[in-house]
């Protein structure tokens, strides 16, 4: 149903499965597999941004029903990601798609929203112990905020504790590295792959 983007019926379908005694983790796995297939269709240019976003919305509907039935074990810091759009930038489409895909992939995500100052990012790294910070940047005039975050993490003696990955229209791998990031995600799907690799590395 995730693949078919059946947003109107997925919540009822998940409810029905739970009532029949299906294991919540099995349902989560089915949803995750669906989301991965959506990602494959997107990379194959059969699905486009609107379908990717709708898949994310479909997952949200499913999660609303499923979440209370999932294990309440504490989120492992190993799987925790902080996501934000940089200060001065109010775009969040890419960030939100990334977050949905990360959650469906078993990650715990702290969403700091748009126009996020570096101080808030540093504070959240300190408090959460998250190992990855994912920054979205869509405006050329805000790309230097990435360097600001890098510098602020260094000044707080946190830079070696965390990996910085960035994504967005004006960026490239070269530019990302020049700005102080460790990695660059070409899109949300690539971002999830790279975040997984950063955490496993």
């Amino acid at each position: 149903m995730t693949i078919e983007l059946d947003i109107d019926n997925i919540a009822a379908a998940v409810s029905s499965q739970i009532e029949r005694g299906a294991d919540a983790q099995d349902i989560l796995k089915a949803l995750t597999d669906g989301m991965n297939e959506v990602g494959r269709l997107y990379e194959a240019h059969e699905y486009f941004l609107a379908e990717l976003v709708l898949a994310g919305e479909t997952m949200k509907e499913a999660f609303e029903v499923l979440k209370p039935h999932l294990s309440s074990a504490e989120a492992s810091q190993k799987n925790q990601v902080i996501a934000a759009t940089v200060r001065g930038d109010n775009h969040d489409i890419g960030k939100n798609i990334l977050i949905t895909m990360l959650i469906s992939g078993g990650f715990d995500v702290i969403d700091l929203g748009m126009d996020c100052p570096k101080e808030k990012i540093v504070e959240t790294v300190k408090e959460s112990g998250a190992k990855v910070v994912a920054l979205s940047c869509l405006l050329t005039m805000t790309i230097n905020e990435i360097s600001e975050v890098d510098r602020a993490l260094r000044e707080a003696s946190l830079r070696d504790e965390v990996k910085l990955i960035v994504g967005g229209a004006p960026l490239s791998m070269d530019l990302a590295k020049k700005l102080g990031a460790d990695d660059f995600g070409a899109d949300a799907i690539d971002g999830v792959r790279r975040i997984r690799a950063l955490l496993e590395g």
């Binding site: 941004l49 609107a50 976003v53 229209a169």
Partner: protein, 380 residues
């Protein structure tokens, strides 16, 4: 002449926006203190919405607001200035305003004081919200007021600047008032999607007719169809909801001796042929920072250059952070390879944003000054 694929005296220059106080000051123009002060004072007034809406319908007030901007363009030798016929203010909110389409706009300031208008999100949370909204009409007084204000300032400047009206298209004014998450749900409901796209298409069509009948030679349509990695929606959806309107708009414009310049960011490879077949006369910018190396102004100009005028496309990232030598070489390449025979406007790959540095901007203009006269002769 360039639009007719003839060679004028020099390669025309265009920028879709020039929001950079630092560069503005370098041309001896004090940045629009009036605009900033006007906005800051009006936002506190109890009757601000009525006042603002009256102002936007007043040709004299609008013309006054264009003078400094057009003077900047004249001094920078940019040939086209825009007048904003749509996307106007509807209602003030904390930190910005809601425009007539239902887009929530942020008002902010860059470190050098440049006023920045940025899209923040959609006002509509559902199709029902959209249906309750007073939809923009092509016949509102503000439309011709904006267009005629531009023409008035053009005349005051002895036609050194061509004032071109800019209007919203179908794609952006359809999804932005909802935000992409809510719009993706609407797109899954064909009747709702069709209603919204048809409303936007009809508005743009009627506006082009009105502008053409009032003497507009060229109309710019703002309408991002895509982004760095591709299209916002499937080619099938574009062919269903957007491109039929674009064709009707181009046909209506041409019947009225008017041409259409489409501004669209994004990698448009999958529908580029279809867009050209709608009859657009010019396209801006062929975004230089997409993830698709084949979406390239040089190869597109080679393939479509006899049918389409290209406007672009020095990367804004290059203009903010690139080596001067690289900027100069790319600018020369644009002129050398695309300008001969006409059908080309020199431009950035989006607009002159606050992060464009003065030295990089001067490098661009220097190249145009040295090599932009016809017949083109740019050494390799």
């Amino acid at each position: 002449m360039a639009l007719n694929h003839e060679e004028p005296d020099r390669v025309p220059a265009f920028e879709s926006a020039f929001t950079n106080n630092t560069i503005m000051k370098s041309y001896g123009i004090e940045p629009g203190a009036g605009i900033k002060d006007g906005y800051e004072s009006i936002k506190r007034l109890p009757g601000k919405d009525r006042l603002a809406n009256m102002a936007f319908s007043n040709q004299k007030w609008l013309a006054k607001g264009l003078v400094d901007g057009y003077e900047l363009l004249r001094r920078a030798k940019i040939d086209i200035g825009l007048s904003y016929v749509t996307h106007t203010y509807r209602k003030g909110i904390e930190g910005g305003y809601i425009d007539e389409f239902g887009r929530i706009m942020n008002v902010d300031y860059y470190e050098d004081g440049t006023l920045i208008l940025g899209y923040r999100g959609g006002y509509f949370k559902s199709f029902e919200d959209y249906e309750k909204w007073k939809q923009p009409s092509p016949h509102e007084k503000r439309r011709l007021a904006a267009f005629l204000a531009g023409k008035q300032v053009q005349e005051q400047m002895n036609n050194e600047i061509l004032s071109v009206p800019a209007i919203g298209g179908m794609m952006e004014p359809a999804w932005e008032p909802f935000g992409i998450e809510i719009f993706s749900r609407i797109l899954a409901k064909p009747k709702q999607a069709k209603k919204i796209f048809d409303d936007r298409g009809n508005l743009a069509l009627e506006l082009v007719k009105i502008l053409g009948e009032n003497g507009a030679e060229l109309v710019l349509i703002w309408d991002d169809y895509g982004f760095k990695n591709g299209l916002f929606m499937s080619p099938r959806n574009f062919k269903t909801y957007v491109l039929p309107w674009l064709k009707r708009i181009c046909d209506a414009a041409h019947k009225r001796n008017c041409k259409i310049l489409l501004h669209s960011d994004g990698d448009l490879t999958m529908i580029f042929d279809d867009i050209v077949n709608c009859g657009i006369d010019a396209i801006h910018p062929i975004e230089p920072t997409t993830a698709n190396p084949d979406y390239d102004i040089f190869s597109l100009a080679e393939k479509y250059g006899d049918r389409l005028t290209f406007v672009g496309n020095i990367s804004p990232v290059l203009l903010a952070t690139g080596e001067i030598s690289e900027i100069r070489e790319y600018s020369k390449k644009l002129i050398r390879e695309i300008a001969p025979g006409g059908g080309y406007f020199f431009s950035s790959g989006h607009s002159i944003v606050p992060s464009v540095t003065l030295d990089r901007w001067e490098a661009v203009m220097d190249v145009r000054e040295k090599y932009g006269s016809y017949p083109i002769n740019v050494p390799s």
